[in-house]
Symmetry: C2
Subunit: 402 residues, 2 copies
């Protein structure tokens, strides 16, 4: 009897949880599971801002995929997806092709620059391990040049966006500054971290009381906020911003864009119906018109029935999608049992402000300070536990609670 | 009674040893000693190539001047020398002026580019702590960019010159490569270290048997030598070399010029008779026509009576000069005793090949391998002992003998 072929594209939160769930639920004889990823490692996207700031080494953020999957049950293919041919049930890779009976697409996000001039060329984005490491090294290199060149803009870091990523990143940067000042013999007062946000508030959508806590906390640490200020252009020497119709240039050698993400453009290019790279999936995470193709993670567009607005793409929802999908795929493979519709159980969210502070709403309760930081670590460790059990928590977990 | 004023310019090997010798020999009432330096720290110039390669942190190479000098006897001035007015017996600093009765000039070396086009703009030199740190960070930044840009020249390091500094530097680089390959997930075979030397041999003037040992050792570690090859130009994208009238371009994002030094140009500009910034001093290290101005270190030009050629500028000779000069200044201040002419006691030299190998001639005996490396550390530690006693050796010494 021919075993059904399940192909999982992308080893992010969604793809990984789908895979480990499948390998738990199915025996070797029930299905042929293949996981495709362009790196040999999986990484925690929500920790990348720490790698970029240099407060956490990227080896802590990533783990070898083969250390987590059961290679007797899952075939790992290190390759890059080029195209999905839904009608032929085939996936074209850079170095090969795969056929599938069931496809899981978890190809993640891309940076969305909203057509702002120069951003692609002159700004970094915290997109993956390579990009985060490069930001860390770029900042260090600029700081190392200050001693000989003495140009203030070498020590200016502009972060575009005061959303979740932007805030968490500037908080890590603020914690890194004292180390950098020592390493490069710098005058502290010359180092500037600017956070530019077009919306009328930082962390739009977050509880205003918590936002105020975060902004005050970060300002105390030296972060400068330019709220209600739009980045008009990124140039070789910095950015051009506008506020109340006033145009201003800010010189900065480091500009990091943390204000927008969209789904992976490959899904659009492969003919799936998508909005900004995100596919509106049905209750079983299926792409419209594709009974055998499922979308998890940042490319899955799911609407909150309470307010009819899409859930923002987060690790939390991706993990829950993977968990649900793994089980549903096992049902499909076996041809018995019932599919369980996906519903998002929002447990809240925590925005870290460095490793020892934060803000958040968890199970409907507002948290600030060390309680929020503590909860953030619990969330991070819980994911590792789900992925690889207690040993993985010990190896890669955030255990610096105090 | 007015105390004679001794002003020491520069806290390099020569200036520091002169100063600590003076503070040992003279009591507080005998002279007013002032040490001027443009940094609050002294550093070991001969270790800078390790900082630049990233195999040793620069904080190990430098020490706070105030931790070594006796501040009850020596007045330390953190400032930059602008001009020496020999006739007025005055030194103009950026933020002040100093009068002297005796002047010690130990302002060190500058990189000499021999007019090669583009070197000043596009090549680094291992000149001081700031420069060395910047080279380390530049290499790291180029390597970090490889993952996204995939351009081979990001991983190519060209070192101009296979003299002492060039050889010691490529050896440290070769030791650093495995670390860099791991940190940046690089294919080892893409990383290139090229050592370009215009002379017909590496380490010209060194024992040929030892040179062969060094070259073979380094080639085994992946260093490529281009001997008899002249750098014609440094450009934005690399260097242009010529060998046997054949012109070739080598693409490289990192070019370090380690092939020439000259004395500090300030001494020439101040009207001292000099050749490439070096002043031919008399037997008491006095500048011609200046009975009260003494030159130590790289700017002092002293001829070897055996072959009538100038001694190359080394730490060893600078240290011996400072030791001699400190004693002679004490004699002059007291107005009794006899001046002792300076003679260079060449104890030999060791060229390190990383921390655990090397070549050298010490007390006339050829050394290779761990014996040479061991001797190099003895030499380094001996200097620290001379400068600050056993505690300084413990704090900053090279104690990783095995």
């Amino acid at each position: 009897m021919r075993k059904p072929k399940i192909v999982v594209l992308g080893a992010g939160y969604g793809g990984m949880i789908t895979t480990v769930r499948l390998q738990k639920l199915l025996s070797v004889n029930e299905a042929e599971i293949t996981l495709v990823n362009n790196n040999s490692y999986h990484y925690q996207t929500t920790w990348l801002h720490e790698n970029a700031a240099g407060t956490l080494h990227h080896d802590k953020t990533r783990l070898n995929i083969k250390d987590v999957i059961d290679t007797s049950k899952v075939n790992f293919v290190l390759d890059t997806v080029v195209e999905i041919r839904g009608k032929e049930k085939r996936v074209i890779l850079k170095n090969g092709e795969l056929e599938y009976d069931y496809l899981v697409v978890g190809l993640g996000f891309e940076s969305e620059t909203f057509g702002i001039k120069g951003l692609k060329e002159h700004a970094f984005s915290i997109a993956n391990i390579n990009g985060a490491r490069q930001i860390r090294d770029h900042i260090e290199y600029m700081f190392s040049r200050y001693a000989t060149e003495k140009r203030d803009e070498l020590l200016t870091i502009v972060v575009g966006g005061a959303g979740f990523t932007g805030i968490e990143f500037v908080a890590e940067l603020a914690n890194r500054v004292p180390e950098l000042v020592h390493e490069y013999d710098l005058p502290r007062e010359k180092v500037r971290i600017l956070c530019v946000e077009a919306a009328p508030t930082a962390l739009p959508g977050f509880d205003p009381e918590l936002v105020e806590y975060a902004v005050k906390f970060l300002e105390k640490k030296g972060v400068e906020f330019l709220i209600g200020t739009a980045i008009k252009e990124a140039t070789e020497t910095g950015i051009i911003v506008s506020k109340d119709d006033k145009i201003e240039e800010i010189k900065a050698e480091t500009v990091v864009w943390a204000a927008g993400v969209r789904g992976n453009s490959l899904v659009e290019e492969s003919g799936f119906e998508a909005m900004r790279g995100r596919i509106k999936v049905d209750q079983f995470l299926r792409a419209p018109g594709h009974d055998d193709a499922f979308i998890v993670g940042d490319a899955a567009l799911i609407f909150n029935p309470e307010n009819d607005r899409p859930y923002p793409p987060t690790a939390q929802i991706a993990i829950q999608e993977g968990y649900n999908l793994g089980k549903n795929l096992a049902v499909l493979v076996r041809g018995k049992g019932e599919l369980e519709p996906f519903t998002f159980d929002n447990k809240g969210s925590v925005c870290s402000l460095g490793h020892d502070d934060g803000i958040g709403v968890v199970f409907g309760k507002k948290l600030t300070g060390w309680q929020a930081a503590f909860m953030k670590k619990i969330i991070d460790n819980r994911y590792l536990f789900l992925l690889g059990g207690p040993l993985l928590v010990l190896k890669k977990g955030k255990l610096n609670f105090f």
